[in-house]
Symmetry: C2
Subunit: 140 residues, 2 copies
Amino acid sequence: MYERKIPVAIDCGLHLTREVLNGKWKPALLNAISMDIKRPSEMLRLFPDASRRVLNVQLKELEEHGMIEKKVYPQLPPKVEYSLTMIGWSLMPVIDAMNQWGDANRQFLETVIKQNPSVGQTSKSACLNLSQRAIQRKIG
Amino acid sequence: MYERKIPVAIDCGLHLTREVLNGKWKPALLNAISMDIKRPSEMLRLFPDASRRVLNVQLKELEEHGMIEKKVYPQLPPKVEYSLTMIGWSLMPVIDAMNQWGDANRQFLETVIKQNPSVGQTSKSACLNLSQRAIQRKIG
DNA sequence: GACACAGGGGATAAATTTATCCCCTGGTTA
DNA sequence: TAACCAGGGGATAAATTTATCCCCTGTGTC
């Protein structure tokens, strides 16, 4: 496993939260799990742009940080289900706020992001399915 | 300037927001500016762990993304002041939510973060000043 | 047999982000 | 003259994160 060489900043709430949410797919994974997408294979289908490997790694980090729990069913073929922990659920208002702000300002944001000369392309495949499905989040 | 080779994900609100907030000091910088810390030198003092270079770069990205505005006073020695734009202000509830969640769960988070074998050290120098000052955020 | 499913994870390469260093402007102060 | 202030930014190294590839388990289907 990779070993960090630079101290992790844990000074303020912002840095703590950043540490937990730091990963390209982490916010989206938490959101998906809260929407009852619990199996790895479902997540893979939901995020076609993410590789299996990366999702595995980020799920494991979320688990290590105590945001999600993994349940392995001793079956064949194997079956795994993730769920949010209590503290994981408490993060959802933050995720929702991020999600809503991004969606509310989509037009502006897409423009400024694409305007940036360092940005080559943008990709739009994932997540859409999720909002389109408009699945009601299970409470409790 | 660095040119991205991988398409930037802009599919859902979460990814858009991530793109804007992606940078070690960005959330903290936005928070600081909202607290009326507007000059680069003040920010440097506030975040002793951040190098001048990195703050400059991240401030410029925030500016390019339209979250902050830079005002240069034609003086000597030079004087620069940053301020939040309208859309930058609209991001504050998200920043606040992240900040509060992190602070509210500090004990737990510090534990799980340090528990992780990949984490070497943690650093706590910055930001504290800011919350201790408890500066009232200027509205408008 | 060959291939698919549902999962896990090592090794390694490539991309991206941070950190370090160093130079530059033009006053002011020791 | 040397050093500091307040700011800007190029070059390059180091660290970290993502992407790619490949192999492995055991059962079921073509």
